[in-house]
């Protein structure tokens, strides 16, 4: 009787079940931990596209100090970054470069559209050289309105992004 049970098929099934259970067991805490890490260590890439970079700079100044949230500004290389803050107007000259920068960044990566220009074109809705918002070229996670947004608004946007990351799935598969 016991011999009947121990067959290769059953063993396979058993191992498969064990694997499922293990994956389920590991998945959640690991995902939680990874997401937690990602939340507190958003490193924005150093790309300035227009005048909103002034307020982006102000956000990392001592008065607002985004480093409190683990956001460090001084990263040179885009290979180490995971957040694109599109700081304002995207002109037709800048758009391909922005896309390239986004493409070259490692996964996972997030996009914040900062300023009216980055969201819809803002003031430059009728300009000949400005894209009407960056939705066409990048998948945006959080929109931060304003012209330029106050640093508080940007920080609030970052907090929203953290909230969003918390609810994302950390990995596709082990």
């Amino acid at each position: 009787m016991l011999k009947d049970l121990i067959t290769p098929q059953n063993a396979n099934v058993f191992v498969g079940k064990l694997g499922d259970i293990l994956e389920k067991a590991i998945d959640k805490p690991l995902g939680y931990a990874i997401n937690w890490g990602r939340i507190w260590s958003l490193w924005p890439v150093h790309i300035e596209t227009a005048c909103c970079s002034v307020e982006f700079g102000a956000a990392s100044s001592p008065r607002y100090d985004v480093e409190r949230f683990g956001i460090i500004e001084a990263f040179g290389s885009l290979r180490q970054c995971d957040l694109v803050v599109v700081q304002g107007t995207i002109t037709r000259k800048m758009a391909p470069r922005l896309r390239l920068v986004y493409d070259q960044m490692p996964e996972p990566k997030y996009v914040i559209a900062m300023g009216a220009c980055a969201i819809t074109g803002g003031l430059y809705f009728d300009s000949y050289n400005v894209l009407p918002g960056i939705d066409g070229i990048l998948p945006v996670d959080v929109y931060v309105p304003g012209c330029p947004p106050r640093p508080e608004t940007l920080i609030q946007g970052c907090m929203l992004l953290q909230e969003k990351i918390k609810r994302m799935k950390a990995r596709k598969f082990v």
């Binding site: 790309i47 002109t91 470069r97 430059y124 300009s127």
Partner: protein, 378 residues
């Protein structure tokens, strides 16, 4: 204006082999919103080609579709942290075209606002200069102290940077109650703070040895290239529009212009700092001389029409002389608005200064030109 020659010992045998072309920008911590294509031979820059235009938004074209008032939010966008100054020549020109007369008190408030804005701009510039030199504290201190003045401007205008404060015929709203005291207190503290920068920045031997004798712009070259502002004054030309062609009430205020002879990056970076102290002086002086009450704005008709003709007005902004050329053809919209911006005028000096320099000097020389890419691109 002879073409720049290579430094001795840098004649190149086979150009294609030893020269490396670097794209500095637009995603580069040391480029701002532009691209500089540099070619280096070892450690020396042998060719440099600035490539601006990444923020070219067609402001001048759009200004032709909007009337004199609706243009205001647009025309301050090129330099949002110096927005009072960049609006100033436009507003002066529009006033001349529309035949308006500004109340005395508004003139003083304009001067105060524009001086505050000059400091705000310069502090931001200084902060970025720090980043370019690899000095993170030099970013943080000015960027933090700048907030003191931003706070004042916020009290005056309600906005942190894009104030839209100057309108043809005066200013948009009066000063808040009790503003003078707060302003005096914060400006005094601000002045004390920027004096503390001397130890860590301007008298720091490492910074001095890094920037002194690099990127030297001689007096003749500075004049011939038509540079302006701190770049010009660092090369020994005493030219400040506020002194030479005083607008509003600058001729009644007491201030000096700062001139240095050496024309190197150090002088170019030090002049704006000295200018900030003068600005503090101007602000205090203006606060004292300002009429304590009175109207601040002449009422405008809706859709005012400009007189036929053209005006060219200029002011001294944080970066240098800023001109605005307006042509009007008796319509509510100006026929043509041209901003002659100091950044664009100073950009021409960049290739001249960089060729023959070491690669390590590139960021400091570039940013010492007091260049704001968004303004140059308009």
């Amino acid at each position: 204006m002879s073409s720049p020659t290579l430094p001795p010992g840098l004649a190149i045998q086979k150009a294609d082999e030893r020269i490396m072309t670097l794209n500095v920008g637009p995603q580069h911590p040391g480029s701002g919103h532009m691209r500089i294509i540099v070619q280096i031979d070892g450690d020396y820059i042998v060719a440099c080609d600035p490539d601006p235009g990444y923020v070219h938004r067609g402001e001048e074209k759009m200004a032709e579709y909007r009337n004199y008032v609706l243009n205001i939010p647009h025309l301050e966008r090129p330099v949002i942290h110096d927005s009072c100054n960049i609006l100033y020549p436009y507003v002066l020109g529009a006033e001349e075209l529309l035949g308006l007369e500004v109340p005395e008190r508004a003139k003083y408030i304009r001067v105060i606002a524009s001086e505050l804005n000059r400091c705000v701009y310069t502090q931001y510039w200084l902060a970025i200069y720090g980043i370019f030199l690899g000095h993170s504290t030099m970013f943080m201190w000015p960027a933090g102290d700048r907030e003191l003045l931003i706070d004042l401007l916020e009290k005056m205008t309600g906005a942190r940077v894009t104030h839209s404060y100057f309108v043809p015929g005066g200013i948009r709203n009066d000063l808040p109650a009790n503003f003078e005291d707060v302003c005096l207190r914060q400006v005094n503290y601000f002045e004390k703070r920027i004096k503390e920068y001397a130890d860590v920045f301007y008298e720091n031997p490492i910074l001095i040895s890094r920037t002194e004798k690099t990127g030297i712009l001689s007096r003749e070259k500075a004049i011939g290239l038509g540079t302006t502002g701190s770049v010009l004054r660092a090369s020994g030309v005493d030219y400040d529009v506020r002194k030479k062609e005083p607008y509003d009430v600058y001729d009644e205020l007491d201030f000096e212009t700062n001139v240095m002879k050496s024309g190197d990056s150090y002088a170019r970076s030090r002049i704006p700092w000295l200018d900030m102290m003068e600005s503090c002086r101007i602000i205090r002086d203006a606060l004292q001389k300002m009429p304590k009450s009175g109207s601040v704005r002449v009422k405008l008709k809706p859709n005012p029409k400009g007189a036929l003709g053209s005006v060219y007005k200029r002011v001294e902004s944080g970066r240098g002389a800023l001109g605005c050329y307006i042509i009007s053809d008796k319509k509510p919209e100006p026929y043509r608005v041209k901003l002659s911006v100091p950044s664009f005028r100073n950009l021409i000096a960049l290739p001249q200064l960089l060729i023959g320099e070491k690669l390590g000097n590139m960021p400091s020389v570039y940013w010492s030109l007091n260049y704001w890419p968004v303004e140059a691109d308009r």
